[in-house]
Symmetry: C2
Subunit: 371 residues, 2 copies
């Protein structure tokens, strides 16, 4: 009799994302710019920092397991009910709970080939079988093909990110509405809207567009600048939301996270100001890519994917050369998206460091072969 | 086809512990003293607060998913290897992962009747079947009976807390060593040592006492005063520890939590000073109980269980009357332990509030009937 389940023993001890700290230790360097994890170097509102400092001093006490104040503020912000919201330790934590609640060994889950690895990690961790639909040739997720695949397979979950990571692409609300309407009723549409605060409003169906099989995930990690704090939420109908109360870690959202997120939500002026800075940074990144004779993809997020013009081997070599020059960036792991590198928005000084590193890296590895 | 698994739909939407904030909202009061959740009102070291404030300002960035600095410090502190340690979002979070890794629907798990409800919650959440062994008549967990039960049932997990919650009792290291040696090799002994920092050293087997089927859980929530921060760790052999890397939320331990725990570990002088304050508070709580003609149980933790001398109904009535007077305490949920109330260590002012509330509550509900 083994100590761990067959499933657990069959899994690799993997990490969906290697952290920049691990890369620094492996490479023996210190990054001068941290532009790989789509964090917000602009940070959160000063009011968030004040709220977190105050909460830190009170953190001998557990946080409210009902997250009453934060949940009430989110409900008011969105014009929905508290019963429409579950709060968790980042979207990653919520996705893990959702997979636990829905996927049994052998169940099918549909996603896009090259979409969010941590979602796939959780599906694998619960014994689900992943079915992958390629991105469209214009580097958007392919709603039509995903709908067709979902209708054919009737999966437990259908994952879709809008705006998308790692491409930065976005679909209009009408496309998402159609995806919602066409998802089979026995399939939950996992609509990952981590970057929704940075998207044009025309990309987002109203948040009160509810369906029994629709869950929308939002986070304080991206535009709100609180990635290291760990707080996110999921919006849906009460019958689905209540399931999270059956398996969540009730004290898991820290006192600091609850206070910080509440303060962040209350400072929408700051969010607006950061959004402008991020848009400026995207323009600047696009200009850097063009100066390097590479192709920036349009982005509705806080990062820009840059098509390096070669294959995955070229992009990996280029990425490695950029990292060695002290600039942390990442790239998609799967072809054909792996012809890109992905660079997060940064302050002008960060982006200048990236530009220098990119140009020097191109000098080192050469231009891509035309294929 | 239902959206959620049969198991998920069969579970109640429950909370293992109702938070004091929820009680305040239900009762329309504000607690003047918070002595119910075995938090440390003494708080963490000022160095921890400094470290957390600094980390908060950097919390636009994800925390290190390898938790390298904290894990290295823990390894050095205990004289073990980094590969012997997994870090998670409190013991609650780690227990959830352990159950996911070991328990399939229908698998058996053995624990004590009245022991940690959150462990039971996770077992239920993964479809495990709980088997309960009564506490001994001296209100200690019963190692002999647990061993016998484990040998009979060969469960996936055997839970044991030393020191124990909710009784505060403790067993000597020799008893624990015997429990370790006698646990069937196909059963993981879940040794919950949340209160180990407050226990006499004679109660703890050396931390490097490793077995393939032994996992020991430690936390920064109790003596270190960081309950609201969410950071704990599990110690075991590398083959068991590596399993956590297969299912954990890699970025789940916040940047602030990692920095705070590291600073806490480095300030052992503070821990020692707090331990003295907690011991004083235990003595004072015992004296209060005796003045109320009730029986304090000996405690090796940061709380004192008080035998009220009646049955569960009496203790529940008394608890309710104490709560109404603005003092948050808790009590065990299951007979025969439910003849007790449980009060956390506090500052003299907190304990004075408790004494006043207790005496007034006794005036209100009367003395227990002699049974």
């Amino acid at each position: 009799m083994p100590l761990f389940t067959d499933l657990a023993r069959s899994l690799p001890a993997t990490v969906p994302f290697v952290g920049p700290e691990a890369l620094e230790r492996q490479m023996g360097i210190r990054f001068k710019a941290r532009l790989g994890a789509n964090e917000s170097v602009f940070g959160p509102s000063p009011k968030v920092l004040d709220a977190m400092a105050k909460a830190a001093a009170e953190s001998w006490a557990y946080g409210d397991p009902e997250q009453y104040a934060l949940k009430s503020a989110l409900a008011e912000h969105h014009g929905i009910d508290r019963a429409n919201i579950a709060i968790g330790e980042g979207i990653d934590g919520l996705l893990g709970l959702l997979v636990q609640l829905t996927v049994e060994p052998g169940d099918t889950v549909v996603t896009s080939l090259g979409a969010y690895p941590t979602f796939n990690y959780h599906v694998a961790g619960h014994g689900g079988t992943l079915d992958f639909v390629p991105y469209r040739s214009d580097d958007h997720e392919d709603p039509e093909a995903l709908i067709a695949r979902a209708k054919a397979l009737r999966p437990k979950l259908l994952y879709f990110a809008n705006p998308d990571n790692p491409t930065g692409s976005v679909h209009d609300a009408a496309v998402i509405e159609r995806l919602i309407a066409e998802t089979p009723e026995e399939t939950i549409l996992v609509l990952d809207e981590a970057y929704s605060d940075l998207a044009p409003p025309s990309a987002l169906p109203p948040i009160d567009r509810m369906r029994p099989n629709l869950l929308r995930f939002r986070t304080f990690s991206k535009a709100y600048g609180m990635a290291g704090v760990r707080v996110a939420y999921v919006v849906g109908e009460p019958d689905a939301i209540v399931q999270f109360d059956k398996v969540r870690n009730h004290f898991g959202v820290s006192r600091i996270a609850q206070a910080g997120a509440l303060a962040a939500l209350e400072d929408q002026a700051y969010l607006e100001a950061v959004t402008t800075k991020i848009a400026d940074a995207r323009d600047r990144l696009a200009a850097i890519a063009r100066r390097a004779n590479m192709t920036p993809l349009p982005s509705a997020t806080n990062f820009v994917a840059i098509d390096c013009g070669g294959d995955g081997d070229y992009a990996r070599a280029l990425l490695s050369a950029v990292l060695k020059r002290g600039v942390f960036i990442r790239m998609p792991g799967v072809a054909p998206l792996d012809r890109m590198i992905r660079v997060s928005a940064g302050r002008p000084a960060d982006l200048a460091l990236f530009e220098d590193a990119l140009l020097a890296a191109i000098d080192q590895v050469g231009r891509p072969k035309v294929t």
